[in-house]
């Protein structure tokens, strides 16, 4: 156990010292005051996308980086979140805030019920199952009349911007703070999680499941916990994104591209490291938004060609992600007593 724990302790940047905390606090403050400088809506949109994908990639990082299980259909939880809040609002007029909670609960329940059979076995079974789930959800929602089938649901507009209905028509700033809030809370939670007993046990399971199991750690239980947490992080982003664009449809909300993007960003930045997803997102989202401006929306497949290529290159040359390029002393934990 001691050696496993030591190994986990040496992992880069999961730990945070005073200097790092100061930098992070300054960065958060900068993000909070950013809208006060009156940036153009495009930059607000860019930041919102960065926050959203940062949370989504972190969600994927929890299941893949912390517990070592690959989910290839993580978009499913995004869609579940989006649909729970929208259906409740459209059909019953329930505020999206409650809808977000419902989405979280549903996503966690689905993750647990998938996790119980799948996570007992080697990772290939789980990866294939998640791929199936991602596509099955899309198929079901494309044909489910109550949720608008293939054409989806339009969220009825309120007269005025409203925090209760989570709709803001005249400015993107409230959305900015909404996503920023979720972003900061998620990163704090994951940071706490990774330094908690659960986090250490998860990494023990990932690095050597036989050793972990011989020490009495219930392997599949911890993997399922990780999967549920990951789903819980993912679902609210779907709800918020639905409120942001005010329409939900199966092709967008359950798109395979979401699953691809969260995987790619995390692997690119550095899998298993809390800052990895952020690095990947900070690189890829601006690139994808700018290419969308210059090449228009039609070149959808072109960026995917590069994403696939980048993914392969990273796997070959830098499996630890771009974060491993940072100087060593930044990555190593301070000596702990």
């Amino acid at each position: 156990m001691e050696s496993l724990l030591n190994h986990a302790r040496q992992e880069p940047l999961w730990n945070t010292n005073k200097r790092v905390i100061a930098v992070l606090a300054a960065a958060s403050l900068a993000l909070i005051v950013f809208p006060l400088f009156g940036p153009s809506p495009f930059y607000l949109h860019l930041m919102i996308m960065i926050f959203m994908y940062a949370v989504m990639s972190q969600s994927w990082n929890v299941i893949a980086g912390l517990s070592g299980q690959i989910s290839l259909g993580h978009g499913a939880f995004f869609g579940i979140g989006a649909y729970s809040s929208s259906v409740l609002y459209v059909h019953y007029g329930i505020t999206p805030w409650l809808g977000i909670l419902v989405g979280i609960v549903l996503a966690a329940m689905i993750a647990i019920s998938i996790g119980i059979p799948m996570l007992r076995l080697s990772g290939h079974y789980f990866a294939i199952a998640t791929l199936l789930i991602g596509i099955s959800f899309q198929v079901v929602f494309q044909r489910w009349e109550m949720v608008g089938a293939a054409s989806g649901l339009w969220i009825p507009l309120t007269e005025e911007s409203s925090w209760l209905a989570l709709q803001f028509h005249d400015s993107k700033t409230p959305y900015y703070y909404l996503f920023l809030g979720f972003f900061i809370v998620t990163y704090l939670l994951v940071w706490r999680l990774s330094n908690s007993k659960i986090g250490f046990r998860l990494r023990a399971v990932r690095d050597d499941y036989q050793a972990a199991s011989s020490l009495g750690i219930d392997i599949s239980k911890y993997k399922i916990i990780a999967y549920a947490i990951s789903a819980i992080i993912m679902a609210p982003m779907g709800s918020l994104f639905a409120q942001y664009i005010l329409i939900v449809d199966p092709d967008r909300m359950f798109s395979l591209e979401i699953s691809i993007m969260v995987l790619l960003m995390t692997v690119l930045g550095g899998i298993g490291n809390i800052w990895g997803p952020l690095i990947g997102v900070a690189i890829l989202i601006p690139v994808s938004e700018y290419t969308r401006i210059y090449f228009g929306g039609t070149g959808g497949a072109v960026d995917l060609i590069f994403y696939g290529l980048i993914l392969m290159l990273i796997c070959i040359f830098r499996p630890a992600g771009l974060i491993s390029l940072l100087p060593k002393h930044l990555l190593e934990r301070e000596k702990q007593r």
Partner: protein
């Protein structure tokens, strides 16, 4: 009447099942050999269908005659995949291996979409056309011959792996790479060959399916999913298991489509997968 319809569904399920079996056999061979699941398997199928389509459309070669070319092309594609990508990730974590082949699948599919647009295409008037009527059952000729060819290819593969020296060397490498290397079996070359043969199987299936299936860039997605399930059902790494598993999946797909609702075919197959994983995770013929 109802009985005839069910019989018809069984026959068409059987015919599809043999295709799934061959595709799954390729996947299973690669997995058994190096413990890597090829998540780009569906995309390789798509490439083989397009190769067969372009040979018909540009050179006027009937899909039936271009099969050898397609097989060679896919085998080459497999060797290329091994030497350019898989070789580097053999010792990587499973996580990285999955990401790498998944990246390959994204790459191939979007490249195809960029080059050939997502349009649906089909081969006009191939040699194999029309249908056969046997005792009130209608069987499409292309479907029938595709299934027959797949079955033959499957048994050739099986004989190759179990009866020839090279096949035994493949199996030896699959069982214990280091021990095989000590005996003078070059594992790297064996891996490349495994990829060549695995994708060659896909080439046979894809080339034959071009006769009657629509050819489009996402065509491989469902086939690959079914192949994954077939491999899990048959037992990871078992080739003969793929035959039974493929047929079971074909039957479930076609009977489920007939009796419940054809638009949820994927879900029935998913249900099989769940059942297998819960009750018989080692598969029907699994080694693990």
């Amino acid at each position: 009447m109802a009985f005839e319809i069910i019989l018809q569904a069984i026959v068409s399920g059987l015919l599809m099942g043999l295709i799934y079996a061959l595709i799954a056999a390729g996947l299973s061979l690669i997995f058994g050999l190096m413990n890597i699941v090829n998540f780009a398997h569906g995309e390789h199928l798509m490439v083989s269908m397009f190769s067969s389509f372009w040979l018909w459309s540009l050179l006027g070669l009937d899909p039936l005659f271009s099969i050898p070319i397609t097989i060679l092309l896919m085998a080459f594609c497999g060797v290329l995949t091994h030497y350019l990508l898989i070789r580097y990730i053999l010792k990587a974590k499973m996580l990285i291996q999955i990401c790498a082949t998944f990246g390959l699948s994204i790459f191939i599919r979007s490249l195809a979409q960029y080059l050939w647009t997502p349009d649906f295409r089909n081969v006009d008037q191939p040699l194999l056309e029309g249908r056969i009527e046997v005792a009130n059952l209608f069987i499409g000729q292309p479907q029938f011959f595709t299934a027959v060819v797949c079955l033959i290819a499957f048994f050739l593969l099986y004989l190759f792996v179990t009866r020839t020296e090279t096949g035994l060397a493949l199996q030896a490498t699959a069982q214990d790479r280091e021990a095989a290397e000590i005996l003078g079996i070059p594992s790297n070359r064996m891996f490349a060959m495994g990829w060549a043969i695995g994708l060659g199987c896909v080439g046979v299936a894809g080339g034959m399916m071009t006769n009657y299936f629509f050819i489009f860039t996402d065509v491989g997605v469902n086939f690959a999913l079914f192949a994954f399930v077939a491999v899990a059902l048959g037992g990871f790494g078992s080739i003969i298991g793929c035959l039974y598993a493929g047929i079971i999946i074909g039957l479930v797909e076609s009977l489920g489509g007939l009796l419940i609702d054809p638009s949820f075919k994927l879900l029935y197959v998913f249900a099989i997968y769940l059942l297998v994983v819960i009750y018989k995770p080692q598969g029907l013929f699994g080694r693990y």
